[in-house]
Amino acid sequence: MAKIRGAILVDVEACKGCGVCIPACPQDVLDLAKEVNGKGYNYSYMKNPEACIGCANCAIVCPDGVISVYKVKVA
């Protein structure tokens, strides 16, 4: 059965750490990093990357458009 695997790429320096992406994710993939970026924000990252299905929910609610979404079908 074909399975969908997704992943996101966060523009870490542009992320403001608002966290709006976290509840938008149906798979509970995201969290804010303990580390901060150059502006001092705890940026968004995949704490649970295996679960990502590439639905792009996080990206479309991101006010700063810092998330790019990738998706593949794996056999």
């Binding site: 403001k16 608002c18 709006v20 990206a59 479309i60 609610v61 990738y70």
Partner: protein
């Protein structure tokens, strides 16, 4: 089943979503979690998908989104406070073949620019008006807006909006729906994936309507103001659902020139 790594997935050919090319690379000047950024991006996506970047002129307001022209890769004019519908009227009348939109906050559109808004809507100018309503003056530091809810605190009503003293919150969108010159009037939000998708459809329809020359398409976006509301972003969105949406219900109000909701 072969193991697949993140690097295998993050490849150009697997890209399914990224920021629209109609957005510039400038960092948005908005507070973390502010809905303005999402609203900007939806406009950019619609313009990109309709392939009308070279035919579009935007008008930005005075308020938090005054610098919108730094974020959208479009020809834009920055209007005096509240005057965007008058500015857009002239742009569209002189270049009827172009797509013209205004982007205005609640203070700009529903207080200081009430006359320009009502009359542009009533004349039925063939423009799109995007109205971002977060119930507060964000840029000047959280003062009361025409749309501030009853009892809602702001820096100029620190004990909550007192209706007897300060008057009622204004439902501008319901008001413009009553005017013969509006063709499509809707209220949306951009705080959740489902609402973002609906809002984008509404913005797309608004821009498509402009080709029909049947009048104003008016899209309200009920949004948050984390700084003004003094709430963290996710909590602000929850507060918005609980408090803003009952008074400013989401959905279409007028479609194809017909009122569909009261």
């Amino acid at each position: 089943m072969a193991e697949i790594t993140i690097q295998d997935i993050i490849k150009k050919e697997n890209l399914v979503y990224t920021k629209s090319k109609v957005m510039t690379d400038a960092t948005l000047s908005y507070c973390p979690g502010c809905g303005h950024g999402t609203a900007h991006r939806l406009i950019a996506e619609v313009i990109e998908e309709m392939d009308i970047q070279s035919q579009t002129v935007g008008v930005c307001p005075v308020g938090c989104s005054v610098l919108m022209y730094n974020f959208l890769d479009l020809d834009m004019q920055q209007a005096a406070h509240g005057r965007a519908p008058a500015v857009a009227t002239a742009i569209k009348r002189l270049m009827p073949e172009k797509f013209v939109f205004t982007y205005q906050g609640d203070g700009d559109l529903a207080a200081i620019g009430t006359a320009e808004t009502i009359h542009a809507c009533n004349r039925g100018e063939n423009i799109v008006i995007i109205f971002v309503n977060n119930g507060i003056y964000g840029m000047t530091g959280g003062q009361m807006a025409p749309t501030t809810l009853k009892g809602m605190p702001s820096s100029t009503c620190p004990y909550g909006r007192d209706i007897e003293m300060m008057g009622n919150p204004l439902k501008m969108t319901e008001l413009v729906a009553q005017l013969a010159g509006t063709y499509y009037v809707t209220r949306q939000s951009v705080h959740s994936p489902r609402n973002v998708r609906r809002a984008k459809k509404a913005i797309r329809l608004a821009f498509e309507n402009q080709k029909l020359k049947r009048g104003v398409s008016f899209v309200e976006i009920v949004s948050n103001c984390n700084s003004g509301w003094k709430l963290p972003p996710v909590k602000a969105n929850e507060w918005m659902e609980e408090n803003m949406f009952p008074f400013y219900p989401l959905g279409d109000i007028k479609v194809d020139g017909e009122i569909v909701s009261k």
